[in-house]
Symmetry: C2
């Protein structure tokens, strides 16, 4: 076991029982405070730890590494050091903050420089994303979409159970939690109309997804096997794949979603390492009918039991939970996604991101989009303020949360939130 | 008129009549020689001009700019200086190399340091591509594909004449001319089979395209109008969108092309500025049936008369011209593509690239892919060595060339070539 994962560890930093960030998490992100340059940080409880200052004061002297990565405005260079080094950093941070370690705990001057409350920092986009790919790997979601738009008896397309369907997405418009999202404009073809119209999207949606960040490059022409894949996956975050359903519907045949997606995607600010999620691995699903091709087979537990929650907060109103799902509702796991993505020799760079596709569960209260929750607008969702939602309205804030919990240990992602602003 | 474009200019560097690179071109690229770091260069005739040394020796002292951009391994930072500055640089280069300017011409010591033969340098990938989008904007190509795979009487899909259909492509696997391409592996569903198979692509194809490079960033939420678009387009290159037709066919419904494309795309090494192509502007086509929406309307001549040629060279054999097309066969021009791409607020970064989609002409000898040239394999192309081609074979080298010619002035792109290697 990785030392930092030991469930019995306690920190001298106070951590409440429902915190996503116990000492066993140690995610990585980028902070900004005042006029100082953006830099790397981690978090325990509600306390942000400035890794650049921690390094400056010598706390990483025992780790064989180039600590200049902590002064970078993204975590890419840190990830590129490789898992041996990034694990050593995580283990060292774990050691520094263990309740019985006094080296920093008893140094008030250093603590003042290194620690601050999460409410006092700005959390920035943690990764410079090179390429971004969005998969479509929840069987329940694909079945729902196929049932609504095609044929309930043949909801899944012929290729769906044979390969993790995915498409290239837009990297430039991935933004960090808290960034407001303008309702996109574009072409739509109204039902029954003969000509398309131009205007603000009327069917604005979210998609509940998780994203993984690649921390190791592969070469053009090289395939990464399902066995090797975890070495390339640095960590995960929550991912909201905002979607303009009316724009998407009119544009997507034959080359796939484009402007219906590329106006924005939002991610949570802390990248939680794959290592930290080790406790929450689960097996399955069986992939026998049909049996998958050998390059997609894998060994071990590759799914993760991570509870996911979607909240919708109308302008000035209360946030309401509109869905509870779980990252375990994935037919294709991340290792299969990466093996498939590289089977043709497509190369990955550090910082590339892949998202899961909408994660819908088996029951109507676990669906991962408004499209499914309101069943194409036929079942509006009641809000606390008496209004209803078929799709998102201007002023709505959409929040995704997620955490694993097992044997008294909770490791989570915090949240990704975004407020819908009117079209410009 | 931009000074450097004056058709009557002659250089003191020898330029043959069929050269793509007269003094009116002045494209930008990245060279490597010996152990020196990659750096920026331009070319006149067959003579490469090292811009970093030109700057070092003071030849850009009259231009108000940060000349450190010439030492970068990509031209992104140069483009980001803005068109006012990059035009001043192009005009200054034009002045230095005019036949009657002796400042460098008569300085043999400087010439030795600045000039070298194009055969003595390695031409590297000129741009760090952030996001890459591939359009589908040739009506002839879309009609051919629709005729083959759907219905000859309804070859164009309902949205095609209303918007420039496009999709996000893979940026990481864009490589420079000369890079060999391994035949990709992946899933295919053989005709009549019940289960997919895994193996090397059997229907490897090229696509004759042109790409444009964005030289100015836009903000998330901002739309770029067709009027403003040219300020964002720095320059163009030849673009070969290698395609694995069997992989693509099995995977692409419903989310579009993915692994059938992402194994590689190849570009020509010199980015020819939009300014340099000014002579070759042409009007049209009419877009009245149907009339396009106002945000896609434009003023002025936005198409370019650029002759395109495709050559196929079997291993050890002679190159044969298999297609002659023209960049004018675009229904949607670059300004419309950019206006459409940003109409939803999607942002662009400097270095982002857009490709045209396959550029097919009206006659069978002007089609831009093997799929069309061999009409789905039903009309094999005879090679000089007695073999035939339905699709590309291992050992084949595929070459794209392109140039505009008018009033005795020829401005071109050189070529993009790539050799097909066996699957790994």
């Amino acid at each position: 076991m990785i030392a930092a994962n030991n469930p019995s560890l306690k920190s001298w930093i106070e951590v409440s029982g429902d915190s996503d960030f116990p000492i066993q998490n140690i995610p990585f992100g980028i902070i900004k405070t005042g006029r100082r340059q953006p830099r790397m940080a981690t978090i325990i409880g509600n306390t942000v730890i400035d890794l650049s200052v921690l390094a400056e004061l010598g706390y990483f002297n025992s780790v064989n590494m180039d600590t200049s990565v902590f002064y970078m405005p993204v975590i890419n260079e840190f990830m590129a050091l490789g898992k041996e080094t990034t694990r050593a950093v995580r283990n060292r941070i774990s050691a520094i903050f263990q309740h019985n370690n006094g080296e920093l705990r008893d140094n008030d001057e250093h603590k003042t420089q290194i620690l601050c409350d999460v409410d006092d920092v700005q959390l920035l986009m943690p990764v410079a994303v090179g390429d971004y790919t969005d998969f479509y790997s929840s069987r329940e979601h694909a079945t729902n979409v196929g049932t609504m738009f095609r044929d309930p008896d043949n909801a899944l397309l012929p290729n769906w159970l044979h390969l993790p369907v995915g498409y290239h997405g837009r990297a430039s418009s991935i933004v960090v939690s808290g960034t407001p999202i303008h309702r996109p404009k574009g072409q739509q073809m109204p039902a029954g109309a003969e000509m398309p119209v131009y205007g603000a999207c009327k069917l604005l949606d979210f998609e509940l997804e998780m994203g993984f960040v690649v921390g190791k490059s592969s070469q053009l022409g090289q395939s990464v096997s399902t066995d090797e894949a975890e070495d390339y996956i640095f960590g995960l975050c929550l991912f909201n794949d905002w979607s303009a359903r009316d724009i998407q519907k009119w544009e997507y045949v034959p080359l796939g979603p484009f402007l219906g997606k590329s106006f924005a995607s939002s991610i949570s600010p802390w990248i939680v390492t794959l290592d930290a999620l080790d406790h929450f691995r689960i097996s399955g699903p069986e992939q026998k009918e049909p049996e998958v091709l050998p390059y997609l087979k894998y060994e071990g537990d590759k799914r993760y039991n991570i509870a996911l929650e979607v909240l919708l907060q109308p302008e000035g109103g209360e946030a309401k939970t509109i869905s509870r799902s779980n990252f375990k509702y994935m037919y294709w796991n991340m290792c299969q996604q990466l093996a498939h993505h590289t089977v043709n020799g497509c190369n990955f760079n550090v910082g590339d991101m892949c998202a899961s596709g909408t994660i819908s569960g088996t029951t109507p209260d676990s669906y991962g989009s408004m499209l499914e929750l309101s069943w194409r607008g036929t079942k509006p969702l009641p809000m606390a303020d008496g209004t209803e939602r078929k799709f998102l309205k201007d002023g709505d804030t959409l929040i995704l949360r997620g955490f694993g919990e097992k044997d008294g240990l909770r490791i989570g992602f915090g949240e990704v939130s975004g407020k819908v602003l009117p079209a410009t």
